[in-house]
Symmetry: C2
Subunit: 130 residues, 2 copies
DNA sequence: ATTTTAATCGCAACATTGTTGCGATAATAT
DNA sequence: ATATTATCGCAACAATGTTGCGATTAAAAT
């Protein structure tokens, strides 16, 4: 039945996500974790958290991978269909929970998951550009 | 003025794209190229072709990167705002040129580029599943 | 409280993907 | 034919992710 365990490393990773308003990469998590656990362990924790729908994986336009907390809205089936915004300047990735794309797809395709990422300048960097 | 040259390797890569109906990864191109040119050269050719708007880069949900030919429709500004479909079974990625998402974004964000990828079963694999 | 079990970990080793510097090569303009 | 310089090949490196396996350890069972 595959129970999932609470370990020190997992707790630490969850706390890091709790303190972050933006999505985090493996490297960023590792920097915060320090030598509390191994590099590989972080990969495995992230994998588990994704499977348990506690975080979701975000792939950016440039191919970089980040993770962010899931905010469940009492949906039965949990699909991460909201948009992500990737700032070209500060490189931060944020979930735009309320931005959901609408689209029409040919009937002979079966869609299981979607990825909708917008890239450009976030409000902070847009202001400091003026 | 930076002229761009036609080399044997570039011609070969373009021909491979011409013969493919789906998007191609660096590894797939390399397999077809054989030892006609170096691995690094393929990276540099892909980089150039992207800059010249001859191909566009597609980042899949799982983080894999592929490239596909651009189909220009007499637009002045060339934005790759169409959807891409990634089949979970045959792993092929195809451009859905006619599928374009509509969405509403907060005004304080400046969007320069978008990535809209759908993942699931393509028509071929959907049929063979029945 | 002690034992059992299997989920998780650390480590080492490896694979893939992508980048950079630099001297050599070759496409194009003159 | 010659000059210019975009492109190439090679080697070396870096980042990211994966796998196997014996050692730990959280949590269930006793």
């Amino acid at each position: 039945m595959k129970t999932t365990r609470n370990t020190a490393a997992k707790t630490a990773v969850l706390e890091i996500f709790g303190n972050s308003k933006t999505a985090l990469s493996h490297a960023e998590i590792q920097k915060q974790i320090g030598d509390l656990c191994d590099r590989v362990t972080i990969y495995r924790i992230l994998e588990r958290l994704v499977n348990d729908d506690i975080i979701h994986k975000i792939v950016n336009l440039d191919g970089t991978v980040k993770y962010a907390k899931c905010h469940h809205h009492a949906q039965r089936v949990h699909i991460h269909n909201h948009a992500h915004f990737s700032c070209e300047k500060c490189l931060e990735i944020t979930c735009l929970e309320n931005v959901k794309p609408s689209y029409i797809i040919p009937h002979n395709y079966k869609v299981n998951d979607i990825n909708f990422t917008l890239s450009g300048l976030c409000p902070n960097c847009l202001n400091s550009n003026i």
